[in-house]
């Protein structure tokens, strides 16, 4: 080894060490927005214990060179303990999660907490402003990117990929032990009280069971989702589905709040008992999603409701043209329970009419897919 190489070999481990301990400090950019300090990196160990901290996290830049800032709340307990991440607004048209996380943090008293709760309110800044699932980037006249297919992000990727990378690397990694990504159905569909949990991670499955939902899917892991990126990073995580899009629905917000409280109690972050869980709801646990998509255009009348049990071959929807003539009838492809229903009557080819959660012996260990559409 020549001297230069030897020197490089010495320097390299030092650099690697620095990288692995990247969360040496919270980085304050010096900016203030709405009286909140702007951070470009979070290290919760820096923060004063027994207090609620509020920041604006500087995300990706916009096409004009200004930045998107994501509201972040850190409730740092007086004593150490598990650090739990609550994300709302990964999809911008899913609003119950935002109300649920806000309500959870409104009740937290950091002086009595052991551990930390971190809230990310509307990381998909563009989507939440436009109440759209996707983030519109300015490529070739406009393209809509699904942020929940971009995790863990790419440092020099497009705007959305970089935004996800910044959140993963400058905010989540090193600060989070447990992650919950709250969702709802998107615009035009409605979702049952539902949890996705990675089938091959017992801790994630336990976490999912803490929410008083009616249905749990033991999922195979969908690349690009925040849930899967967290699990792959060694952070047990779930995706919740709290009903439908766009509005604040009290019952669905309460589902999120109750589940959040159970998670905080289960891990001892907040003192107190665990309340009603999925087991208490006698939740249906499946491992496969079968989606019925429109094979024609037309107005759809649904014959089933969320949580209805269905059997294979059962008629679940009728589609008619403008004259009221039937253009297609849809049957359930499997026996299970209804997890998702389409709510927009006017239905384009390829859009979702209903999705059935199914339990198959052949899908144990997460071998089946997720219907290709959700979350």
């Amino acid at each position: 080894m020549n001297p230069a190489l030897r020197m490089a070999a010495i320097v390299f481990p030092v650099l690697a060490f620095t990288a692995s301990s990247a969360f040496a400090a919270t980085v304050y950019t010096g900016e203030m927005i709405q009286d909140k300090r702007v951070i470009s990196q979070l290290d919760v160990t820096d923060l004063e214990p027994g207090k609620m901290h509020r920041f604006m996290f500087r995300g990706a830049e916009t096409s004009t060179g200004q930045y998107w800032y994501v509201p972040v709340i850190v409730a740092k307990g007086a004593k150490p303990g598990k650090r739990i991440l609550f994300v709302a607004g990964n999809h911008g048209d899913e609003l119950n999660p935002i109300a649920a996380v806000q309500a959870t943090f409104a009740t937290l008293d950091p002086t009595t907490m052991s551990g930390t709760a971190i809230a990310l309110i509307g990381p998909n800044r563009s989507g939440v402003e436009n109440i759209s699932r996707t983030w519109t980037i300015n490529v070739l006249g406009g393209e809509q990117v699904n942020p929940n297919r971009t995790w863990p992000g790419r440092e020099d990727g497009n705007t959305v990929e970089r935004h996800s990378w910044l959140i993963t690397n400058k905010l989540i990694l090193g600060n989070v032990d447990i992650g919950i990504d709250h969702h709802t159905g998107g615009t035009g569909i409605d979702f049952a009280r539902f949890v996705f949990a990675y089938a091959n991670d017992p801790e994630s499955l336990r976490l999912g069971g803490l929410f008083p939902v009616d249905q749990i899917m033991e999922d195979p892991g969908l690349p690009g989702t925040l849930e899967y990126a967290l699990v792959k990073a060694g952070i047990p995580a779930i995706t919740t589905e709290l009903g439908g899009s766009r509005g604040f629905v009290t019952d669905m917000v309460k589902l999120g709040v109750d589940g959040n409280a159970n998670v905080l109690a289960h891990y001892g972050v907040v003192p107190g008992p665990v309340g009603k869980t999925a087991a208490d709801m006698n939740a249906f646990v499946g491992n496969d999603l079968e989606t019925v998509s429109a094979v024609a255009g037309g107005f759809v009348t649904l014959l089933v409701k969320l949580n209805d049990p269905v059997v294979e071959g059962q008629k679940i929807a009728v589609q008619r043209d403008g004259f009221g003539d039937v253009v297609h009838e849809y049957v359930s492809p499997a026996t299970g329970v209804i997890a998702i229903v389409g709510t927009d009557a006017a239905t384009d080819r390829g859009t979702e009419i209903a999705t059935v959660l199914v339990k198959r012996a052949s899908c144990n260990d997460g071998q089946c897919d997720d219907g290709g559409i959700v979350p």
Partner: protein, 374 residues
Amino acid sequence: MNPTLRTAAILFSAMALSASSAFAATVYTGDTIEGKKVISQLDVSDLAPGQIHKFLFKGVEMGTGQYWYVPIMVGKGVKDGKRLLLVSGVHGDELNPIGVVQKVFAELDPTKLSGAVIGVIGSSRPGVEHTTRGWLWMDLGHSLINPNRTWPGIENGNTVQRHSWLLMNQLIKGNADIGVDIHTGGNGIDFALFSFTDSKDKEALQLSKLFPIDQIYLHQGTGGSLAAALVAAGIPGFTLELGGPRSFDQDMINAGVRGVENVFSYYKMQDRPMGQTAMDRNALIGNQLVDLFAQNSGFTEVFVKLNETVTKGQKVAVQKNAFGEIVHEYFAEADGRVAIIGTDAVRERGVDVVSILTNSDKCKDGGCEYTGDE
């Protein structure tokens, strides 16, 4: 008048006085973004002379309760003089104006300036982000609002109306003596070097003539436009059009910058000679803009170029269907010069194919009212 009423009357007068002297001070919110101080109100007289000041102006809030911040630059001269307002990005797909304002400030030496220059960069924040003319507003799903029909704004109006109100009342009024609202044609069209100038305001006409443009359209003012709101507020101002949308065209940007330099010269804001003006370019001053809107839909070929002289009856465009069959032919409806051409070949019913600036007898008393989209 009973004593209570009298007290109320005195209080009311005092309040009215405070309102009229609203620009008592620049208001710093305490926020800083990208190293710039955030202001919610500007008073140029507060600022240190001989410097360029950069701020983010806190505009309207978004649906989430966060805010839109508009970049503002103020070049404050060392001596008293005219205070010139330059606005860009009222339409978000019109980028040459942003290039003009940035270049004016890059070349500005405030230690050799009398008066002040106030630059607004991209007032339609979501429009500029998405390169769109409209500001996407979330009422009943989506609607796109044309910001240049919302001035002078409404304090408790919708998002766009309030944003315009904040800019007009917390930034422009009391700080600007003259103003130029810089535009280009929107998506799908291209514009000549052109001005929309309110015929009622002689100084606005003088200001327009200082720019090296080819066409000046004297008209009755377009309600809701920033230019009309400036004139109504006693601030001579006009709308400048510098070519087409979306990109930076250096020739168009330079035309805007040269015009601003002429304004500096004319108002003795800087010691510099007068450059080429509209009069040097033999500009056509017209009183009517005749829009030829598509009467049918189809693929359209335009036969004329910008600023070309046309005569009434001359064929200017042909529209064909997918089979190449002619569905409509367009003929100039007046003698004049081509001000606007459609550049998107696919032209829907009602969109602009060609616009011609002309002089007509029926509009000779101060120009006709302009009801088009521009």
